[in-house]
C-alpha cells in the first residue's frame, strides 16, 4: 500500500495555505473555491479541521459512478477520475461521506484530491505539519504513542498521589 495524507487537527492553525496551493497546482489560479482541500473552521472556538479525500479502500465514489470513471491507481494508492469518461452527474459528490469530492462550476467537472501525483502541495506548504504524506500505518502509530503518553502521565500522577 502507498502513502496517504495523515491529518493532525490539533496542529492546524487555520491559515488555509493548503487551499491556495491546491488550487494553483490543479487550476493554475488562486481561488479556494477550486481547491480539493478545505479547512472547515469554527473560528469562534478556535477549531480548524482540514477536509480532504481519504482515498478510501472501499470507495463510495468509485462504487456509485455509473460510467466507471473513477478507478484505483495502485501505484499511488489513490482513486482517480477519468475525465474522458466522467459525465458530470455529481453522484460521487453525493456518495462521498466526507464531502471530499466537489464540483468546479467553471470547468463543470467534479474535483478530488489526486495526491499531486505523489508530491502533495498541501503537505509541502503546511508549516505546522498538520498534513503529512506518510505510510498509512504511521497514522495509528502516532495515535498509539499519544495515548501511551497520556497513560504514562496518568500512572505517574496516580503513583505520586499514592506516595503522598
Amino acid at each position: 500500500m502507498g502513502k496517504v495524507l495523515v491529518l493532525d487537527y490539533d496542529k492546524c492553525t487555520g491559515c488555509r495555505e493548503c487551499e491556495l496551493v491546491c488550487a494553483i497546482q490543479h487550476e493554475g489560479v488562486s481561488n479556494p473555491a477550486r481547491s480539493r482541500i478545505k479547512v472547515v473552521k469554527r473560528e469562534w472556538e478556535g477549531i480548524y479541521i482540514p477536509m480532504v479525500c481519504q482515498q478510501c479502500e472501499s470507495a463510495p465514489c468509485m462504487a456509485i459512478c455509473p460510467v466507471k470513471a473513477i478507478s484505483y491507481d495502485q501505484e499511488l494508492n489513490r482513486k482517480v477520475v477519468d475525465y474522458d469518461k466522467c459525465i458530470g452527474c455529481r453522484m460521487c459528490i453525493a456518495a462521498c461521506p466526507f464531502g471530499a469530492m466537489s464540483f468546479n462550476t467553471q470547468t463543470q467537472q467534479v474535483m478530488k484530491c489526486d495526491l499531486c501525483d505523489g508530491d502533495p502541495q498541501c503537505v509541502r506548504f503546511c508549516e505546522t505539519k498538520a498534513i503529512r504524506y506518510a505510510d498509512a500505518s504511521e497514522q495509528s502509530l502516532d495515535k498509539q504513542v499519544a495515548v501511551a503518553n497520556k497513560f504514562i502521565a496518568a500512572t505517574k500522577n496516580a503513583a505520586a498521589t499514592l506516595t503522598t
Binding site: 490539533d10 487555520g14 489560479v29 488562486s30 481561488n31 478556535g46 508549516e127
Partner: protein, 635 residues
C-alpha cells in the same frame, strides 16, 4: 488576473455605486492598497473637513499580492482623515477579509457620504449591495459578524466590522475582522460609525489568475522558508508578540507608568511565559506560516469561559506596564474587552495611563473619574474604564474623545502629561535610549506609532557589514551605520529606508512580520520584485518599488501639510528629553533624547526625502516623483 480587481465608489448618502478599473500606469506608480489609497485620499478629501462628517472619505483596500502565493498576503488597509488626530488616518489588519474582497472582485472601496440609517455593504462576485443593518447595529465585534453570516445564510462570508466603540464614535475605534484582527490606530472605526456603516461583508469565488503559477508556487515556498526558518519567526509562532516584552523590558525600553519609567520591575505576571499558561494553541492569518495569534479561554471572573484570541505585546503593556498592573488574567480580560468593543488597545492603555498619572498627581480626583480609584496597578479600575470607553459611559466618555479633546475638557494643564505625537498616544515602547526609534515616532505620518518607519532591528546590535547589506539597496548608501542603538549617527537613513519598506509592504498587502521588521534576514525589495513579476506579470525593479513607496509617502506628507501640519509636529513631548531613564540595564540608564541631536537627525531625514527645512517636499522632489500635478483626479 491579479491586476483586474476594481475600485468601487460608494456614496452612502445617495446609494449610488460606480466602479472603475485600475490602469497599469497607476499600478506601477502606486502598486496598490496603502500606496494607491494615499493617491485616492489625497484626491478625494478636502482639507479642513470634520473627520466625522459625511464629507470624509473612508477607503477599504486589499494589496496587490493579497490572495496570491505571497506569504501572509492577507492585509486589509482602511484610511480616512483621522477623527483622533485630524491628520492622515490609516489602519492595517490581517485575517481573512482582504483575500475574500479580492475573490469578490475588488481592491478598493471608496466610501463617501452618510447612510440615512445603519447599513452594511455586501460585496460578492463583482456586485455590491447596500443592506439594512438593523439586525447587526449594536452588536459586539464577533456577534456582528455572525449575525451577517446568518442573515445571508453563508458561513464562508468574511466580515470587516466596527464594534460598539465605532458606533459610539470613540475616536480611536478599530475596524475589526475575525475575533481580534484589527485595523487599529487613528480611529478608522469611528469614521465608519459616523457614516452609519456597520460592516463590509465579502464573499467571492472569482479566480485570481497568475502569470507564472508554477514558478510562483515554487518561489513562494522559498520565500516562506526564508521567513519561517528564522529564530525570530519561530519564537513568534510559539509565543506570539508577547515574546517581545521580556527582551525589551529587561533592557529598560518599555513604556511604563505613562513613560515616567521605562521598565516594569517584578514583571513575572506580565511576561510571555505567564500568558503562555493560558494559551491553548496558535492561529494563523490567511496564508501565513508564522501563526502568531494565541488562542485562549478566560479562566475566571466576569468573562469566565469566554474564548478569544491574543494577547499581543500591546495588551501586555496596556494592561501591564503602562498602567502598572501585574495580573495575567487581567491582560486576558483586557484583550477580550478591546476585541469585543473594537478599540485601539494602544490608545486605551495610553489614555488610561495618562488618567492614572493625573489622578496620582492630584490633577483629577474621584469626582472626575466617577468614583474610580485610578492608581498605578489597579487592574479592576483599568478594565472598568476600558469598558466605559467602549460604552462611552462616565469618565470613559471623556477619554473616548482622545487625548487632545479630553485634555481640553479636563483642563488644569492635563495636556502636559499626555504622551503623544500628533495627538496619537505613544505606543508600547519607550524610546528615550533609542534615537532611531525616537525619530521614527516623531516623524511617522500617523503619529506615535511603530508600524510606519521603525527600524526595529536596530535593537539587535547587528554588525555594520550586515546593516550595510540591508540598507544600501535598492538605492546606494555609503553614509555611517552603527550597531549601537544608543547612537544618532546613520539612524535617519535607517528610518527613511524602513518608511519606504513599510509603505511597499502595506501596498502589496503582505504582513510586516514577513519583511525587514523583526527579522533581519526577511525578504524585502528584491524578493518582492520577483514575486510581483511571477504573480502579476508586472515588471517592477526593486528601485521601482522603492520609488512607488516614496511617492505614496510624499502624498501622505502632503495630506498632513494641507491639514495644517508644520515641522513642529515632527517632535516629541518634553519628558522624552527631560526625564532620563532610571531603570533597565546600565547601558541605558541616565539616557534621554538630546534635543539638538534629534533636530539634526530630522534635518537629515528631510534631506533624504528631498524636503525643505520645514519638512515640505520641494518642487524638484514632486517633479522627480511625478506628483507635481496632484491632485489630478484621474481616479
Amino acid at each position: 488576473m491579479a491586476l483586474n480587481r476594481k475600485i468601487a465608489y460608494i456614496d452612502l448618502t445617495s446609494g449610488k455605486i460606480e466602479t472603475s478599473k485600475i490602469s497599469i500606469e497607476m499600478r506601477k506608480k502606486y502598486v496598490g492598497s496603502r500606496g494607491l489609497d494615499a493617491y485616492l485620499l489625497y484626491n478625494h478629501v478636502k482639507p479642513g473637513i470634520d473627520a466625522l462628517s459625511p464629507e470624509n472619505v473612508a477607503i477599504v483596500s486589499a494589496g496587490l499580492l493579497v490572495g496570491t502565493p505571497a506569504s501572509a498576503a492577507c492585509r486589509v488597509h482602511i484610511c480616512a482623515k483621522s477623527p483622533l488626530t485630524d491628520r492622515y488616518g490609516s489602519a492595517n489588519g490581517g485575517g481573512f477579509f482582504s483575500p475574500e474582497l479580492r475573490w469578490a472582485g475588488f481592491d478598493h472601496l471608496v466610501i463617501t457620504g452618510k447612510a440615512p440609517q445603519p447599513v452594511y455593504l455586501w460585496v460578492h462576485n463583482g456586485e455590491i449591495e447596500i443592506k439594512d443593518a438593523k439586525n447587526v447595529w449594536g452588536k459586539y465585534v464577533a456577534d456582528a459578524q455572525q449575525a451577517i453570516r446568518d442573515e445571508l445564510s453563508d458561513r464562508e462570508i468574511k466580515v470587516l466590522t466596527i464594534g460598539p466603540g465605532g458606533e459610539k464614535l470613540v475616536r480611536f475605534a478599530n475596524v475589526m475582522t475575525g475575533l481580534k484582527n484589527s485595523g487599529g490606530r487613528t480611529g478608522m472605526g469611528a469614521v465608519l460609525g459616523s457614516k452609519n456603516l456597520k460592516a463590509v461583508a465579502a464573499r467571492g469565488t472569482m479566480d485570481i489568475t497568475l502569470t507564472h503559477p508554477r514558478e510562483a508556487l515554487d518561489y513562494n515556498r522559498e520565500f516562506m522558508t526564508q521567513i519561517t526558518s528564522s529564530k525570530v519567526s519561530q519564537t513568534q509562532g510559539r509565543l506570539g508578540t508577547p515574546f517581545i516584552f521580556g527582551a525589551t523590558n529587561t533592557q529598560g525600553l518599555v513604556n511604563t507608568h505613562n513613560s515616567l519609567l521605562t521598565q516594569l520591575v517584578n514583571s513575572d505576571a506580565v511576561e510571555a511565559e505567564a500568558i503562555d499558561e493560558y494559551i491553548s494553541g496558535m492561529a494563523g492569518c490567511w496564508g501565513c506560516g508564522v501563526h502568531c495569534r494565541g488562542k485562549f479561554v478566560i479562566p475566571e471572573g466576569p468573562y469566565a469561559g469566554t474564548y478569544d484570541e491574543g494577547p499581543e505585546y500591546t495588551h501586555q503593556v496596556s494592561f501591564g506596564s503602562i498602567t502598572g498592573c501585574r495580573d495575567t488574567v487581567g491582560i486576558l480580560e483586557g484583550t477580550h474587552l478591546t476585541n469585543r468593543y473594537g478599540l485601539d488597545v494602544l490608545e486605551v492603555g495610553n489614555l488610561i495611563a495618562w488618567a492614572i498619572e493625573l489622578y496620582e498627581d492630584g490633577i483629577i480626583n474621584k469626582e472626575d473619574t466617577g468614583g474610580l480609584e485610578l492608581t498605578w496597578g489597579n487592574i479592576d479600575a483599568v478594565l472598568e474604564l476600558t469598558r466605559q470607553i467602549g460604552e462611552r459611559e462616565g469618565f470613559g466618555d471623556i477619554l473616548a474623545e482622545g487625548g487632545f479633546r479630553a485634555a481640553e475638557k479636563i483642563g488644569r494643564n492635563s495636556i502636559d502629561h499626555f504622551v503623544h505625537v500628533k495627538g496619537l498616544g505613544q505606543m508600547n515602547s519607550d524610546e528615550k535610549a533609542t534615537p532611531a526609534l525616537a525619530l521614527n515616532i516623531a516623524t511617522s505620518s500617523r503619529g506615535a506609532d511603530h508600524l510606519r518607519s521603525r527600524p526595529a532591528i536596530d535593537l539587535y546590535h547587528l554588525p555594520e557589514d550586515v546593516l550595510r547589506k540591508i540598507y544600501s539597496q535598492p538605492v546606494p548608501y555609503d553614509g555611517p551605520l552603527t550597531s549601537d542603538y544608543r547612537d544618532y549617527e546613520g539612524k535617519a537613513w535607517e528610518v527613511f529606508w524602513h518608511e519606504n519598506c513599510y509603505m511597499a509592504v502595506d501596498s502589496l498587502g503582505i504582513c510586516k512580520y514577513h519583511t525587514t521588521f523583526l527579522g533581519a534576514t526577511h525578504p524585502n525589495f528584491e524578493e518582492w520584485s520577483k514575486l510581483i513579476y511571477l504573480i502579476t506579470g508586472l515588471e517592477m525593479s526593486p528601485l521601482d518599488i522603492w520609488t512607488a513607496a516614496e511617492r505614496a509617502n510624499n502624498l501622505e506628507r502632503l495630506f498632513n501639510l494641507n491639514e495644517g501640519m508644520t515641522r513642529k509636529e515632527d517632535w516629541l513631548v518634553d519628558r522624552y528629553f527631560d526625564l532620563p531613564n532610571k531603570l533597565g540595564i546600565p547601558a541605558v540608564r541616565g539616557l534621554s533624547i538630546d534635543r539638538e541631536k534629534l533636530k539634526k537627525m530630522i534635518d537629515e531625514f528631510y534631506q533624504y526625502h528631498g524636503w525643505d527645512e520645514n519638512g515640505v517636499p520641494t518642487p524638484e522632489t514632486l517633479k522627480r516623483l511625478e506628483i507635481d500635478k496632484e491632485p489630478s483626479h484621474m481616479l
